[in-house]
């Protein structure tokens, strides 16, 4: 069966992963499209018999990290604490109407990248620890500690609603 067909079958999940990493849906789709383009171009590097989805998760994640680093360099003025402050009081905030973010989106965005990607792969995509660690290229222990810290932060950010 063709590479394109295999891609089509996993594309909805890839798109979901991109959305969970990104600031908003538009950014998520841009990321997914970019990962798809790169995967098609680099198809010879994929080893048949290994998991195509893991391979593309990895491509996507690397693209996202590159982009996130570039963005961080460009926006040193961003105050990370702010995202946490208005969680739980979202209803009061004008900002919500214009950003259209749910508590979940906002809490995910407030996470450090390394925690967000771990949470996205395991809690959202349902990968096993072993698979997620392989995608991220980190030891299992590193993955699990990121999952513990990331979850703690999410629960704090989302309050009792979690």
């Amino acid at each position: 069966m063709s590479f394109e067909h295999d891609l089509l079958a996993i594309l909805p999940r890839l798109r979901r992963f991109a959305a969970s990493l990104s600031r908003d849906r538009a950014d998520g789709d841009d990321l997914c499209q970019a990962a798809l383009e790169r995967a098609l171009k680099a198809r010879d590097q994929w080893q048949p018999g290994t998991r195509l989805d893991s391979w593309i998760y990895r491509i996507m994640r690397n693209l996202w990290i590159d982009e996130a680093r570039a963005r961080q360099r460009a926006a040193k003025t961003f105050a990370p604490a702010e995202a946490g402050e208005h969680v739980g009081h979202a209803g009061d905030r004008d900002i919500e109407a214009h950003v259209h973010l749910s508590d979940v989106d906002r809490a995910m965005q407030a996470l450090p990248d390394e925690q967000r990607e771990a949470i996205a792969l395991v809690l959202v995509e349902g990968l096993s620890y072993k698979e997620a660690a392989a995608v991220l290229g980190v030891p299992m222990g590193t993955l699990t500690s990121r999952l513990v810290r990331g979850r703690g932060a999410l629960i704090e950010l989302m309050g009792e609603a979690a």
Partner: protein
């Protein structure tokens, strides 16, 4: 008072504990309301996150992504159909249309093939849908479509692996079956019953989705009786 740490609670929720450790955590949780509350909190968090992003995977794919795949499929050499497909006109036609990336529209019409495309999502239809709905792996004789494993996926919901003209895994979504993966199958009949090259990939998908172990014949029957809810 307890040696159960946060990482163990979380691993339990993520389905990553071995049986012995899982029982140990279960026992500790049963004796400790505070621990039970933390466990419940982690379960809610996982459910909430998964539930929040789940609808995205059900949405129609953007045209730009489809176009990219269709364009790519046209310029790369087509996969030649193998003898395995002979005599499998329906499967062959489906496979060919998927391989060529041109059949997206044609598949949606619900015309007899095992897999339809609805809003960019592959869903089982016809015989495949019926096999997933009703067929038990423990009693399938020489049915054209064979059900492999039946299991609960992480985050809840039933999934079943299947093999026939097309092999793969489908998971219950609402009243239907969403096909998670579709590969050329081993076909039917003794001549084609050798292990298909898809097996390893289907198993990898099962491994990725499964929460715990597949159910046995009794579990399979019970799940069917409850309408896969």
């Amino acid at each position: 008072m307890t040696d159960i740490d946060e990482a163990m609670l979380i691993a339990l929720v993520d389905g990553e504990l071995d049986e012995v450790t899982r029982r140990r955590v279960d026992r500790a949780v049963a004796d400790d309301p505070a621990l039970a509350e933390r466990l419940a909190m982690h379960r809610r968090l996982r459910e909430r996150l998964a539930g929040h992003y789940a609808p995205i995977a059900q949405e129609p794919l953007p045209d730009a992504m489809r176009a990219l795949l269709e364009e790519s499929a046209k310029v790369t050499p087509l996969v030649r159909s193998t003898p395995r497909w002979r005599g499998w006109a329906v499967g062959g036609a489906i496979a060919a249309s998927l391989v060529m990336g041109l059949g997206l529209g044609r598949l949606t019409g619900g015309e007899g093939g095992p897999i339809g495309l609805h809003d960019g999502v592959m869903v089982a239809q016809g015989d495949l849908a019926q096999a997933l709905d009703t067929q038990l792996a423990s009693a399938q004789g020489d049915a054209a479509i064979r059900i492999g494993l039946t299991f609960q996926r992480k985050g809840g919901g039933w999934c079943r692996s299947f093999d026939g003209a097309v092999a793969g895994v489908a998971c219950r979504e609402g009243e239907g079956w969403q096909v998670q993966q579709a590969l050329p199958g081993a076909g039917q009949g003794s001549a084609y019953r050798q292990a298909s090259s898809s097996d390893a990939r289907v198993m990898a998908t099962v491994d990725a989705l499964i929460d715990g172990a597949p159910v046995d014949a009794a579990g399979e029957g019970a799940a069917r009786a409850k309408g896969w809810r």
